[in-house]
Symmetry: C2
Subunit: 344 residues, 2 copies
């Protein structure tokens, strides 16, 4: 499959994934929230045609996912895989997603904007994600006339995206900054520099399992390269601080440190009932142990996969039916045990 | 070695061990607390001679342990193995113990009484322990003139032992009675029937890891067979109640039950620092899991051995030096991990 979450990336001890997305709109249609059903269908058809029948070498790598034909569990899985937004999954409009087979690229059609081009890579690869987004944008512009203003730049439905329409983000695992409380100064500094901090599933989600997504807030007045450089620079600084604190915490009491990560691994390997929240917390400890070289027979990619497959919808898909919250907690524990047994 | 704790016994799901001890005194010497050093030496020599040079077939199975020649760690190990009492280990008198090679028999000399003959068996074997004690007593009486009064029976230093001089006890693992709170009614019933309840290391110790020692309080006015029958009968009733409650607790929520015992096993297998108290608590959960057939690759004898080797003195002996409390907790965790790895 080669999906991003089962591939290793650079600086993966702190950066789980890097993502760039571009917001684009057709010049000859109103923004999605003002479109008629007819216009929605036309935009979806034109976008799909531009991707699947373009001259590009990558066209044949894409699959069209028709949101309307998916059941609730399948839609939720798309969200859990970060392939579509929760809003798109709701399916209130005629919408869809063009997804690359390796799940690194997803182009949402008729979300808040006509097009949301997203590239997602494992580890610290914001630059690479931007390059790919940029190439896709160029290819699409060959067949689609995008809404562009010579003064403002790309026009988007929400003014916060106007200009470059770019959002570059990195998903960071910051257990040491959390444990020591230094995360507060990081959050303050980010806010001053126009960098937003969110949880694992984007806007309005809480930081779960010490995972933080940082991204640019400003899309206007800077060009794409400057925005990418800014996020890259801040991410590098956070990586350094997190690593320094991890080493300090370890040195302060190696046995206590190892005890914590190993016990969390023990709980994951032995539990019979596990909530999503507890799993995220324990997986964070284990990831820290893996990254510090304390836990040797498990890798970060396995942990990424476990996070993914232990989300509600993935769990329900794996058993082929809806589950009560209690049944999910039992299935989650079983699935985690099995994945860790395989990793042993 | 064939020591009691690495052998399985009947009803071992509830009864860890059964013990009978007889208090006996030489008729021609004052009680130990009134003896001169010279008399202490004579009693020790005569008792040792009676055991090691008797005509009995078992004589050659005994080893004489001279308390005075042991260092503090070695003395403490004798206590942890239940071979001698803490008082004897203190070594304030010229004292010793005659211990059988399988550690099932220990005859303390110059403890509170001149002789304390103890037999310890795994599981529910009070009757068997009594038979062996009785045989040993008969053999010793062939060579030693015991202090005996035709009205009172055997004379002992403390009036609570006078008459039969017998104390029969069973070490019980009662997690379900504890969890449900029913242990309170058991304790009340025992107290009404003249049965004492104590912790793992006898008088004045607290119940640790849900281990309770029950024993007869009365030694006068009943013959030995009646006392043994009484303790056997009460033990049988407690076994039934404990088993019934275990099954009820399991049926109420099998996943929650399995989750608890498996997580405790996970903590024992993964921790890097573990206090004695926590170890006892977790080992109790695991023992319950083993006895309920939930944990299959570990047996009760391994758990008995772990309790023993993770006591302070045994830990210190295993590394050949004194350890700080923190070092002990680290060594304990390591030792438990290794024992459970071997059991896997």
């Amino acid at each position: 499959m080669g999906a991003w979450y089962i591939e290793s990336g650079p600086e993966a001890d702190v950066v789980i994934s890097s993502r760039v997305r571009l917001a684009r709109n057709f010049s000859n249609y109103p923004f999605p929230f003002r479109m008629t059903k007819e216009q929605e269908k036309k935009v979806l058809a034109e976008a799909t045609d531009a991707v699947l029948n373009g001259n590009s070498a990558i066209s044949k790598d894409f699959v069209f996912v028709d949101i309307q034909t998916l059941n609730p569990i399948e839609r939720q899985i798309m969200v859990e895989k970060h392939l579509v937004s929760p809003q798109l999954a709701e399916g209130q409009r005629t919408s869809g997603a063009l997804v690359s087979r390796d799940e690194k690229i997803s182009i949402m059609v008729n979300e808040e904007d006509h097009l949301r081009i997203q590239c997602l890579f494992p580890g610290f690869q914001i630059e690479k994600a931007w390059d790919l987004c940029n190439k896709l944008d160029t290819l699409l512009e060959e067949r689609i006339d995008m809404a562009f203003d010579s003064h403002f730049g790309y026009l988007t439905c929400c003014p916060t995206n106007i200009g470059t329409g770019i959002r570059a983000s990195a998903m960071l695992h910051l257990p040491a900054l959390m444990m020591t409380g230094y995360i507060r100064s990081i959050l303050e500094a980010c806010s001053k520099m126009g960098v937003a901090v969110r949880g694992l599933y984007g806007e309005n989600t809480e930081a779960s399992g010490n995972m933080f997504q940082i991204s640019n807030q400003v899309t206007l007045g800077q060009d794409e390269e400057e925005i990418i450089a800014g996020i890259t620079n801040i991410t590098s600084q956070i990586i350094e601080q997190e690593r320094m604190l991890r080493n300090e915490l370890y040195k302060q009491n190696p046995f206590r440190f190892e005890d914590k990560v190993q016990r969390s691994l023990g709980a994951l390997k032995h539990s019979r009932i596990m909530s999503s929240e507890e799993a995220m917390k324990l997986l964070s400890d284990v990831r820290l142990g893996v990254d510090m070289g304390i836990i040797k027979n498990i890798n970060g990619e396995t942990l990424n996969e476990i996070i993914l497959v232990s989300q509600s919808a993935s769990l329900q898909k794996s058993v082929g039916k809806q589950l009560t919250p209690d049944e999910r907690d039992i299935k989650r524990a079983e699935l985690i045990r099995n994945k860790l047994k395989l990793a042993d």
